[in-house]
Amino acid sequence: MSVRDQASSGAAEAVPALRVFPLTERNGLRVAGEVVLPTHLIWERALERAVREDEAVYFLELSALTFVDVVGTGALAAAAQQLDDGRRLVLHRPPPALSRVLDMFWPDLSAIEVSMS
């Protein structure tokens, strides 16, 4: 039965991972995996790096990020609100859950720019 098949495939990823890599071609990070309870700390550390930088634009390459929960999106919004004037975070291909929650609770956060191209 299909549900059982899914159960066995799901068990392989019982502990979700979040991996963070520095971008080589520009200032920023590539983040892959899921932002959920067990990975909140890794995500928050990555965002602290972004806040500490002093370049005007910081890229978060998120095309391999599959899910971000509400707390994770809240941490991103809080990081964006801590940026010095004129600085911004550019999110490249964020997962739909992140965009949905950003639109819901922080629709006019000018320090966050979403790029889908």
């Binding site: 899914q6 159960a7 019982a14 959920v36 899910f67 929960d69 809080a78 739909p96 609770f105």
Partner: protein, 319 residues
């Protein structure tokens, strides 16, 4: 009895009992016009056909009023306080009385929706206590069951009978909103059809991700797509994480279909003591506290049962 009871309460929350279009118009249009004449901000959130009546009754004055179809904006009653009433009231300048007509209960509300509707009406009183706001709630006495009208006396401190001519507001002697919240905190209805067809699984901290994946895959198989499927994933993650963090560390998750809806439900051993949880809008710079609010904003219906034994949250998503 005491000085406290005599304290001036600026929040007004009358029920308006009406029978037929003329009484509806008499009661609602006069409320809107009084607000406009005083320079107060006014919003109307009522079912579409009644919205049309009020819009026509107001004529050109309708342009000065925020008009919302409650069938859409208030489909999930748990969304009405944060997403409709406070969303409007909090955006207005201080010092003005905010006036809102809110009609969350209409004849087409199902028996499944009704407990959430009447709990919402009761919780408006706690949510707006102390605020300079008037919320008028029309009740169709011809089409609503007598027990619904009886409940409206318990959820509203005052009542107005549109048919009496004077439109005078009288105290409701049956006013007891906390009793209503408790009385409708009832066990959720059993699953329709065959319960064995529901996906049912246990989860704990180390299995949150597979639980969400299984729930989302099952919802997709049952016909949920696009944003609705994303919303179910967000809701499942939120409720299951709450169980792990606040609800005893583990819980059970079920997903199934009924009629035009996919349902997901999370049960744990926790107790949800705050009836306004998920009904307060979040300040922009507030950390956390958005989980249950998000659930209320995206689901088409949320029902909760909570007591000393545990908490069950069931969410409906139209497919």
């Amino acid at each position: 009895m005491s000085a406290v009871a005599e304290t001036f309460e600026p929040f007004l929350h009358p029920a308006l009992f009406y029978a037929g279009e003329q009484e509806y118009l008499d009661g609602t249009v006069s409320f809107v016009r009084a607000g406009l004449a005083a320079g107060d901000p006014v919003a109307v959130a009522v079912p579409g056909e009644n919205l049309d009546l009020i819009r026509t009754g107001l004529g050109a004055d309708a342009d000065a009023v925020r008009l919302l179809d409650m069938r859409e904006a208030g489909r999930n009653p748990g969304r009405i306080i944060p997403g409709v009433l406070r969303a409007f009231a909090d955006a207005q300048p201080h010092g003005r009385r905010v006036r809102i007509i809110g009609e969350p209960i209409w004849a087409g509300r199902t028996t499944t929706e009704y407990p959430a509707c009447v709990q919402h009406e009761a919780l408006i009183n706690a949510a707006f206590r102390g605020r300079t706001v008037s919320i008028l709630c029309p009740y169709d006495t011809r089409r609503l069951d007598p027990h619904v009208i009886a409940d409206a006396y318990a959820t509203h401190p005052t009542v107005i009978h549109a048919g009496t001519g004077t439109g005078a507001e009288r105290d409701s002697r049956a006013y007891a909103p906390e009793d209503v919240v408790a009385r409708y905190n009832e066990p959720l209805p059993p699953l329709l059809g065959m319960p064995s067809l529901a996906l049912s699984l246990s989860f704990a901290a180390d299995s949150l991700a597979p639980a969400r994946h299984l729930a989302t895959d099952e919802a997709a198989r049952l016909g949920l797509t696009g944003t609705r499927l994303q919303d179910l994933a967000l809701v499942t993650a939120e409720l299951a994480t709450n169980s792990v963090v606040h609800g005893g560390g583990s819980g059970t998750l079920r997903v199934w279909a009924e009629d035009g809806y996919v349902l997901c439900e999370v049960h744990d051993k926790g107790h949800l003591a705050d009836p306004l949880a998920g009904r307060r809008p979040a300040a922009r710079d507030q950390r956390g506290g958005r989980g249950l609010l998000m659930v209320n904003l995206v689901a088409d219906l949320v029902r909760v049962h909570t007591d000393g034994e545990g908490t069950t949250v069931r969410c409906w998503f139209a497919r």
